[in-house]
């Protein structure tokens, strides 16, 4: 059983570590064409329903040279990387990209993309911030229908309601599998360390969701059969946009700091909200965004994120919160002072790590992580 789990872990890690190769292989295996999905939320179900492959585009560690044509250095490194890749031709296998405009940078990226990668059509998408009032909800369904129409044009065939139902079911199975995986993984930090956890979750972005879900379910089953062992390190909750680069997470593994739960945009925010059962698929997709809480990219006057993190810490027996702050990510940076204060008031220690996708030295981060572990031990 153990070896079964290890081989699935290794397979998923390998997928996540080589996005390009993985996407090419999945395209070949499934015979599907691929559509790129920019952060934070793209309506992947619509793409899947169109018989195409949604691919996550969360940047990567590439040397930034060409992107300077469009972007100043104080632009978030994920977006600089994506523009760099687009200009290098790394995305030429994509049939189109969907760029939702959750922040000011994404609005500009969407516009620049039209010039930086003219061969790959862009489908811009706006998620309404006032999504909890009627006018906003209607607008969101209209945007989803517009994107559905754009995808029909690209795939040159209609996306029927039945196809949408099937795709939604695939994604519901995926999301439920993920929720179970993260909760079971938290019990087994000796097998699923910070780095593995991230890579396993990330692999979904370059896989066919159905096949990926099967693998995750098998892994979860294998983990459940393992006995729960005492963990010599500490558990923490991770928050932020993205916990990368992987070398950063190696430091966590090395210092026996395990991630027991996360609020990362690239990870749990993708699957933590439960779907409603009523309405058609377009409406259910819209409800998912309406019901998403504590996400900095979606307007929320109550700002429930701090309270949510406090509960996550308490529910998982974690000792602190680690903030993976993607430098120059305005929305994430604006949330930080608010939840930081709430966490401190609740007596929960916070480790703040500023990250970029191009990091040359990890020495200071290593000191911080080790100090945090020493402080909590």
């Amino acid at each position: 059983m153990m070896s079964n789990a290890v081989s699935i872990i290794q397979e998923l890690e390998a997928i996540a570590l080589s996005p390009y190769k993985s996407v090419m292989r999945t395209m070949k295996e499934t015979g599907k064409e691929a559509i790129g999905c920019f952060p934070i939320y793209a309506p992947e179900e619509l793409i899947y329903a169109a018989g195409m492959l949604p691919v996550g585009m969360w940047g990567g560690d590439t040397e930034l040279k060409l992107a300077d044509r469009y972007l100043q250095t104080f632009c978030c490194s994920i977006m600089r990387s994506n523009i760099e890749y687009s200009m290098k031709g790394a995305y030429d296998m994509l049939k189109a990209v969907i760029i939702p405009t959750f922040c000011d940078t994404l609005k500009c990226i969407c516009e620049n993309w039209k010039v930086s990668a003219p061969r790959i059509p862009v489908i811009p998408m706006v998620y309404p911030q006032n999504r909890r009032i009627d006018a906003g909800f209607v607008y969101m369904t209209e945007e989803l229908e517009r994107v559905r129409g754009a995808l029909e044009e690209i795939s040159e065939k209609p996306i029927t309601d039945a196809m949408l139902e099937d795709a939604f079911a695939v994604y519901e199975a995926y999301r439920s599998a993920m929720r179970e995986f993260v909760s079971v993984a938290a019990e087994h930090p000796e097998m699923i360390n910070a780095r593995s956890r991230h890579l396993i979750i990330k692999a979904a972005y370059f896989s066919d969701k159905k096949a990926y879900t099967d693998k995750i379910n098998k892994l979860t089953e294998a983990l459940k059969k393992e006995s729960v062992k005492p963990f010599p390190g500490i558990k923490v909750v991770a928050t932020g946009l993205i916990a990368e680069p992987p070398a950063l997470l190696d430091i966590f593994a090395k210092n026996n700091v395990a991630i027991a739960a996360d609020d990362l945009a690239q990870e749990s925010r993708q699957f933590r909200a439960l779907s409603r059962k009523s309405g058609n698929v377009i409406q259910r997709l819209a409800w998912r965004i309406v019901d998403q809480q504590g996400c900095t990219f979606l307007y929320e006057v109550e700002k429930t994120r701090g309270q949510m993190l406090i509960e996550q810490v308490r529910n998982t027996g974690s000792k602190g919160v680690v903030v993976f702050m993607m430098k120059f990510c305005d929305p994430e940076e604006f949330d930080y002072p608010i939840y930081k204060e709430e966490l401190e008031r609740a007596g929960i220690p916070v480790l703040y790590l500023e990250t970029e996708q191009q990091m040359d030295s990890f020495a200071q981060i290593e000191t911080r992580v080790q100090s945090f572990a020493e402080m909590l031990a």
Binding site: K327, P349, Y352, E354, E356, A363, Q364, E366, T367, R368, Q370, S371, E374, M375
Partner: protein, 263 residues
């Protein structure tokens, strides 16, 4: 004997304590990680104490070079070691400020002298010793001369740029406009103090505030820091060796724990 070694980016420090936590010796050499600084400092330290490595029961390394230090039994971060060292040297310390060559850090201690929270500067060189080095270069003086220079300042000038490159050009144009070097030196110290004060606000300042590291030898820097924080700030005794002393204390604890476990 218990040995603490602190290998920083620009200097290497070592300290020895005995079984009753008495400081036996401490030494500093001004070359850092990647050099023979460790050999030099150990030779000087042992010579002064009249001891050899045979007498050392346990060794803890800290600082940037800690992970590459193979004589150590254990590596502990400079955050924990500074906290340990300062609590030992200055009882009742609430906040530690360490302006290092690459990093500046602020550590808040709980009433038992343990780390309650800490913050470090981000990637940018503003607010670190590196900024002072650049300023020193523009003013044509060594780092340790900067303090005396600032001491002779008669007029407050502001260096407003955060970016080191911008600050450099700001200072050059100040000098070309005839601003005195002394006043520019003072401006540089105040600029760093402002950045570090910002870091302090992130963790919250508790008195007593103690400064450690080589920059704390700079009296005018300590004073500028005190003015920015509106708190008394004092330099720690053995200010450069605080991390090494903390490491030595950890070495003693670790050895005792090991002994208890074995016994």
């Amino acid at each position: 004997m218990y040995l603490g070694i602190d290998i920083g980016s620009t200097s290497t420090k070592a300290a020895l304590i005995d079984g009753k936590a008495n400081l036996v010796a401490q030494k500093v050499v001004n070359i850092g990680t990647g050099t023979n600084g460790l050999e030099l400092v150990l030779a000087e330290l042992l010579h002064e104490a009249g001891l050899t490595m045979e007498d050392v029961v346990y060794t803890v390394a800290t600082g940037y070079g800690r992970l590459l230090c193979d004589v150590a039994d254990k590596q502990i971060t400079e955050i924990s070691c500074h906290a340990k060292g300062v609590s030992y040297l200055v009882s009742g310390t609430g906040t530690i400020i360490d302006i290092g060559g690459q990093d500046s850090k602020v550590i808040r201690l709980d009433p038992l002298g343990r780390v309650a929270n800490f913050a470090m500067n981000e990637k940018c060189a503003a607010g670190t010793g590196r900024f002072l080095e650049v300023m020193g270069r523009v003013l044509g003086c060594k780092l340790d001369e900067l303090s005396d220079l600032a001491g002779a300042s008669t007029r407050e000038i502001q260096i407003s740029s955060v970016c080191t490159v911008f600050a450099e050009s700001e200072v050059i144009s100040q000098l070309s406009m005839g601003t005195r070097r002394e006043d520019v030196a003072k401006g540089a110290l105040v600029s760093i103090a402002k950045r570090v004060a910002g870091l302090c606000k992130r963790v919250g300042v508790e008195p007593k505030v103690v400064m450690t590291g080589g920059v704390a030898l700079n009296k005018n820097m300590v004073e500028a820091m005190s003015r920015e924080l509106k708190e008394d700030v004092q330099a720690a005794p053995y200010t450069q060796a605080v991390g090494a002393i903390g490491a030595a204390l950890f070495a003693m604890e670790a050895a005792e724990k090991k002994e208890n476990n074995n016994g």
